[in-house]
Each structure stands twice: as C-alpha cells, then as structure tokens.
C-alpha cells in the first residue's frame, strides 16, 4: 500500500499550522506518505464558479499524477480540496466520454484507481488503532466539533458520515478524552470563499458558529478544514468587530489536538501561528 498526500495550497501558506500538525503526528505514529510530485492547485471555489471544465481538469491532473506514481490512496487534509478531488473522481467515473475529454486536456491517462481519504478517515484508519497507548495528556476539554460544509456535502457523492449532525470527528475527539458537546452548527457554512470579497458575510456566519459554541460552554472549536480555520481564527478581529464583542474561544485542528494529547509541544503542532490565543495546552 503506497500512501500519498495532497497538501493543497493553503497548507503551504495560511494553514502552515495545520500542515505542521499533520506531519508531526504522522511522524509520531511512524506513518509515511509521499507528497504527490509537482502537484497543482485544485481550483477551489473559483474554478467551479467560473469554468466547469477547468474545475474538473485541475483535480484530474493531481489524481493522474498520483496514479502514475502508483499511489493507492491519497490523504487530503484540506476539506475543500478533498471535496473537489472526490467530486471530480465521481464525475469522471460517471461519464467515460467526459473522462476521455479531460484526459486530453491534462495530456495524461487517468483511470480513477486511487482512494481519496479525508483527514478523519486517515486518522480513523492509521492513528485511532494505536491512539490509546500513545495518549499521555488526555484532552480533557469540552469541544465543539465543527465539520463545515465540504466534509459531508454533497453527501450522495462523498458518502462520508451522516449529512446532519455528523459523528466521526466527535468520536475521534472523545477517544482523546474530550467531551464533544451537542452542537447544531456542525455543518453550517462559515462563509468560505467569500472571506476576502465579502468579509462582512463571513463575519456574520462565522460569528454565529463561534457564538453558539461559546454559549454552550465549549473550551475550543475543533476543525478539520483550513478554510474554516482561517475564517474562524484569522478573521476573528473582523468577527468581533461585526458582533461588537470579544469572542475568545480558540479554534484548533483535530491533528493539533491529537498532537497535544500524545505529548507533542504546542510549538511542534503550530499553535503559535494562531491568531486567537490557545490557552488550553
């Protein structure tokens, strides 16, 4: 079994903290993966908003390279990239002619054989079985697990977890010793792609997500998506301004929580890079 990783653009930039934590826990658990050589951007929201074919071609190139390098599975920590890759795989499987056309565009053969894993699937498969013996500092906090949109929708295609009130992240967190609260905003949208162009809307939507988590007494919001993280963390000043309040709840990646629980330093899992101070470690 050859495992690859597709970090995606944000993990090399604004979500370096996420990247660091993924690699840190992989190292701690002795997990190896190969970065997909010469990967490109998946096109994100921009591509499918403006150009459907492009939005399939960009992920197809990534998948084709992975295939060429004999990767049986690809870990995609970014939920947005995960969604684009799975949707592309689905669309091309459904329509062989479209697949041939896209193969022409990317000038590569593509068969759709690699299995795409999101970060929680990866954790479930490789980390959870060895987790118990590794935990040194149980993560004894009340957490609000925030999945966002793209991990569970479109549910018919992703076929991952249940579409309302998903549970996989809650289960991982409870294995770390955390208490996952009942949280209705799990899959509400944070505003995603409007972060820069309509910061006001993002402030409103992300603010609701933060407000409810705080209101329910959570110590932290746990996420598995760099986009959600940047909206809930980096945009906090805008959010606080919009809501005219001081939300203090930190937003951490599930991989960071795992890292802390197995005794890695806050530094190692990238906590210092957060905008909202994480006091819980």
């Amino acid at each position: 079994m050859k495992t690859g990783i597709y970090p995606g653009c944000s993990l090399t930039g604004s979500a370096r903290d996420y990247n660091e934590s993924v690699f840190a826990i992989a190292e701690a658990f002795g997990l190896e993966f190969i970065q997909i050589p010469d990967w490109n951007c998946c096109g994100a929201t921009a591509a499918h908003n403006l150009n459907k074919e492009l939005s399939l071609a960009l992920p197809a190139r990534i998948l084709a390279i992975a295939e060429k390098n004999g990767l049986d599975e690809i870990i995609v920590p970014c939920a947005a990239c995960y969604s684009r890759l799975v949707v592309t795989q689905h669309e091309l499987k459904k329509d062989p002619e479209l697949k041939n056309r896209i193969c022409e565009v990317i000038e590569m053969d593509y068969r759709g054989t690699s299995v795409i894993l999101n970060v929680i699937e990866w954790i479930d498969k490789y980390i959870v079985p060895k987790l118990e013996e590794k935990i040194v500092k149980p993560f004894n906090y009340k957490v609000a697990c925030y999945y966002g949109c793209l991990l569970v929708r479109p549910n018919k295609i992703l076929n991952y977890d249940r579409v309302e009130d998903p549970q996989t992240l809650d289960v991982v967190m409870s294995k770390l010793g955390a208490t996952a609260i009942d949280y209705p905003y799990k899959t509400e949208c944070c505003g995603a792609g409007l972060s820069i162009s309509r910061t006001d809307i993002v402030s409103k939507l992300s603010g609701k997500i933060i407000e409810d988590a705080e209101h329910r007494g959570a110590d932290a919001i746990v996420v598995a998506c760099p986009m959600c993280h940047s909206n809930l963390d980096m945009r906090r000043p805008d959010i606080n301004k919009y809501w005219d309040t001081e939300f203090k709840i930190p937003v951490i990646f599930v991989t960071q929580a795992i890292g802390l629980a197995i005794g890695l330093s806050p530094q190692k899992v990238g906590l210092r890079r957060h905008f909202v101070e994480v006091k819980i470690s």
Partner: protein, 267 residues
C-alpha cells in the same frame, strides 16, 4: 488499438473472462469476428472503421455462452443490445464485461452496467446519420410509390432469413415463420408472403430495435429491410420518448403502456 489489446489480455490472464469477443483482420484484410480465449492471441484484436458488425448477436449463441464469462468489444449499438438482452433475460449482467468503444473509436472505461447506462443515456440514440436522410426522403413518397417500392424490393427476397440471423434481438429458438398451426407466413418465397414476413419482423422489433442496421447489411439481395425497423425506432421515440437498450431494467414499448399515450387515429 493497444489499450484494447492490453485490457483484453489482462481480462483473459487474470481469468476474469474466458472469452473476448472482438474483431480481427481476416486473410483479405476484412474485419471478422474473433473469439479470443488465449491471452497470447489477444494481439490479433483490431478496432477501426472496418469493424461494423454488431457482435452482440453472439452473446446468445450457445457455443459462445458455453465457453464461460464473456468480454465483448462494444460500440454503442452493442452496448444497447447488451442492455436489451439483459432486460429480456437472455444474458446475465454478471456474465459480461464490456470493452466499450466511444464514437471516435477510443476505449472507454466501462466499470459496470451503471456506467454503461450513463454512457448510453448521454449518447445520441437516434438512427445513424447516414440513414436519417434516406428515411426522410423515403417518407416524402406517396403511398402508392411506397407500396410499389416495397413490392419491387420484397419480390427479391429469397427467405434466407439472414436478416433474422444477424439481428441480436432475434434470438427466439422458434420463430413465428416456423409455426404452421396456423401457417402465419407462407413457407415459399412470394412477394406478398415476403412482405408479411418483413412486417412481422419489424413489428417484433418495434421498441426493441437498437438501430445497428445489421439486418440490412446482412441481406444478400440488398433489400433495405433495416429501414423498416429504423422507421419504427423513430416512431417509438416520437410517440413514447424512449429508445431501446438504455437500461438493463427497461421493458419494451409494446409490453408496457402509459394511460395517456397519445394517438390521433382512434375514433
């Protein structure tokens, strides 16, 4: 076509199938059906413009079926034939691997019948372009001209039944022509009896014909009998908005109905 050969070889080698039905070049270079059972022989498979025969006709032949699980080089008409044969319980879905060929001659990755169904549904299912014009022209003739035309054409028929043998949908073990209680179709060839035969054949294919044109190609005396079934294919779509061979669950037009089927001639 290397991708086809590789795939065929792979299927035979890993014993996914026992026979690959495809085309090979005959001694004179004419494409002929090939039944490959030995992976080493997969090299002889070809696919190009010479390959026109509807191979699906072999899927119901006992000699072929007995070899085991089959893979078949399948252009759109073959895929549609397969759907029809599955829907009419002459073929089991898990007994067939489809080596799909796209309209521009490329190997398609048909993982399962659902994918095949998706491909078929997206394709143009109307009659082949080259016959459409002919049908339109023919329809412009007066009834008398049509009647004379078919009389002339059908007077040539020698009742060899090549049209029936070539058709993947004509798989009955006993055909109506072999029934003599009553004698529906006269045994000997004569123009009127020939006409009765061709009407019967076309009616039996109404809603089942997948427009491969094989019947017309097979006719040794050049009767364009495929126009009859193709005309009905047009009409089936015209009235019922369906084309044959689009899913393995479809039931044929003449064995189903909608209460609001429209017609304009019943008083």
């Amino acid at each position: 076509m290397t991708s086809l050969i590789i795939r065929a070889k792979e299927l035979l080698e890993n014993k996914t199938v026992q026979v690959v039905i495809g085309y090979e070049a005959g001694p004179t270079g004419v494409a002929r059906p090939a039944f490959i059972t030995d992976p080493a022989k997969a090299e002889s498979l070809i696919y190009d413009e010479r390959c026109v025969q509807n191979l699906a006709v072999y899927l119901t032949k006992r000699e072929v079926k007995n070899i085991g699980k089959m893979a078949i080089v399948a252009t759109l008409p073959v895929m549609r034939s397969i759907m029809m044969l599955i829907s009419e319980q002459q073929l089991f879905a898990d007994n067939i691997v489809v080596l799909g060929i796209s309209a521009d001659g490329k190997l398609l990755d048909i993982a399962d019948n659902k994918v095949m169904q998706g491909y078929i549904e997206k394709s143009d299912l109307s009659n082949p372009e080259k016959y459409k014009g002919l049908l339109t022209e023919f329809n412009k003739l007066s009834p008398e001209e049509k009647f004379l035309y078919w009389q002339k054409e059908l007077s040539k028929c020698i009742k060899c039944y090549a049209c029936r043998q070539a058709c993947p949908m004509c798989y009955c073990t006993r055909c109506t022509v072999e029934v003599n209680q009553p004698q529906w179709i006269p045994v000997k060839a004569n123009t009127h009896g020939n006409m009765e035969w061709h009407i019967l054949r076309a009616m039996h294919l109404a809603g089942r014909c997948i427009s491969c044109g094989e019947c017309g190609r097979a006719c040794p005396v050049g009767i364009p009998c495929h126009l009859l079934t193709m005309h009905l294919t047009d009409q089936v779509y015209n009235y019922f908005k369906v084309y044959a061979g689009t899913s393995e669950k479809m039931s044929s037009v003449l064995s189903t109905y909608e209460p609001n089927d429209k017609e304009s001639f019943i008083i």
